[in-house]
């Protein structure tokens, strides 16, 4: 039985010569943030807080997390934040957020991720995505890499899972 081809909206994030795809269904909205560059020492990845409709959201530095993980340096600006509903994330992440101490005012409903400003929504054919090669598939999935897409011989887009990536980041914060 052949699977009908379908397309879906993805956020395409370009930074440091690399490109990442995030399923549009994994975040609620995005907003501009003033503080696009880190100031002083912060807890690893816990970048700041931002206001979102009267709620105070924890802003995680996903921009730096990707650089560290994929071993590249980016000098581009990162004035964009993705707002993610905690209820859409796994129990593991939800538990970590609820266990964070000393953040009484911080929303347990949403969190935000600082990402590159070079981001846009694209409608992409699912059939153009590939899983990682079999030998790397399992470890990739565990780390939050669902697959990839070659856009040219010399360019790849990594299809990443926000839930797994957030879990890894937050484990580092505990």
């Amino acid at each position: 039985m052949s699977v009908p081809d379908s397309a879906q909206d993805f956020l395409v994030m370009e930074c440091g010569g690399l490109s990442f795809l995030v399923n549009r269904n994994q975040f609620d909205s995005s907003l501009y943030i003033q503080n696009g560059t880190p100031e002083g020492e912060k807890t690893r990845y816990a970048f700041d807080t931002i206001d979102y409709g009267g709620k105070t959201l924890l802003l995680l530095d996903f921009f730096s997390h990707l650089q560290l993980l994929f071993n590249y340096r980016s000098t581009e600006s990162a004035h964009l934040a993705l707002v993610v509903s905690v209820s859409d994330l796994s129990r593991k992440v939800s538990d970590i957020i609820h266990s964070l101490k000393g953040n009484g005012e911080i929303s347990k409903e949403y969190i935000a991720l600082r990402v590159t400003s070079q981001s846009s929504i694209e409608h992409i054919q699912i059939s153009s995505l590939r899983p990682l090669p079999r030998l790397l598939r399992e470890i990739g999935l565990d780390g939050g890499i669902l697959g990839l897409r070659f856009v040219a011989t010399h360019q790849v887009q990594y299809f990443i899972d926000l839930d797994k990536m957030i879990a890894r980041m937050m484990e580092g914060m505990l």
Binding site: P133, R134, L135, L136, I139, G140, D142, F150, T153, H154
Partner: protein, 168 residues
């Protein structure tokens, strides 16, 4: 069975054995010999699909250092293993890839260069029966015309090691 019968039986075995040797056609096996740094290794040629040059290498996190990433082979990702890291703990500076014909595992080896294709009589392939730690990824050897030994890589053992290292 008395000794006479036993001897006759032994004689028969020897005769049949030598007759077998005369009749058995030589089986020739092809090996692809390649360079990794200045050392030569070989693999059965039928395990290799192709040799490709100058493809960009894409990084993958979470993997052991001998996994250098993957390449784009006709739109399909192929894992790139740097055996120089596995054997000598040194990165191999190269962009020549030996693509394995095993399409299930979609893997390739980073090599310095292809040396030659050798046709070897099956009898001259020396398989090893027990391995030291250093020989973990070697299944045997062949010798070239100058009598120098070239180690045959054991690809399933290399995959087994990777499976163990990445927990799959």
């Amino acid at each position: 069975m008395n000794n006479e019968d036993i001897f006759e039986s032994l004689q028969q075995n020897v005769d049949e054995g030598s007759r077998g040797e005369e009749e058995r056609p030589k089986k020739i096996v092809k090996f692809l010999v390649f360079l990794m740094g200045d050392r030569r290794f070989t693999v059965y040629a039928d395990l290799i699909r192709e040799i490709v040059l100058d493809l960009p290498l894409f990084y993958v996190p979470f993997v052991p250092s001998y996994v250098r990433g993957f390449i784009n082979r006709h739109g399909e990702p192929y894992t790139v293993l740097d055996l120089n890291v596995l054997f000598n703990q040194q990165l191999l500076e190269s962009s020549t890839f030996l693509i394995l014909s095993d399409t299930t595992n979609q893997a390739s080896f980073l090599i310095s260069d292809v040396a030659e294709i050798m046709k070897i009589d099956e009898e001259n392939i020396h398989m090893i029966t027990s391995r030291s730690e250093r020989q973990q990824f070697v299944m045997g050897s062949i010798t070239d015309l100058e009598g120098k030994e070239i180690l045959i890589l054991d690809i399933p053992e290399i995959f087994k090691r990777l499976g163990k290292d990445v927990g799959s």
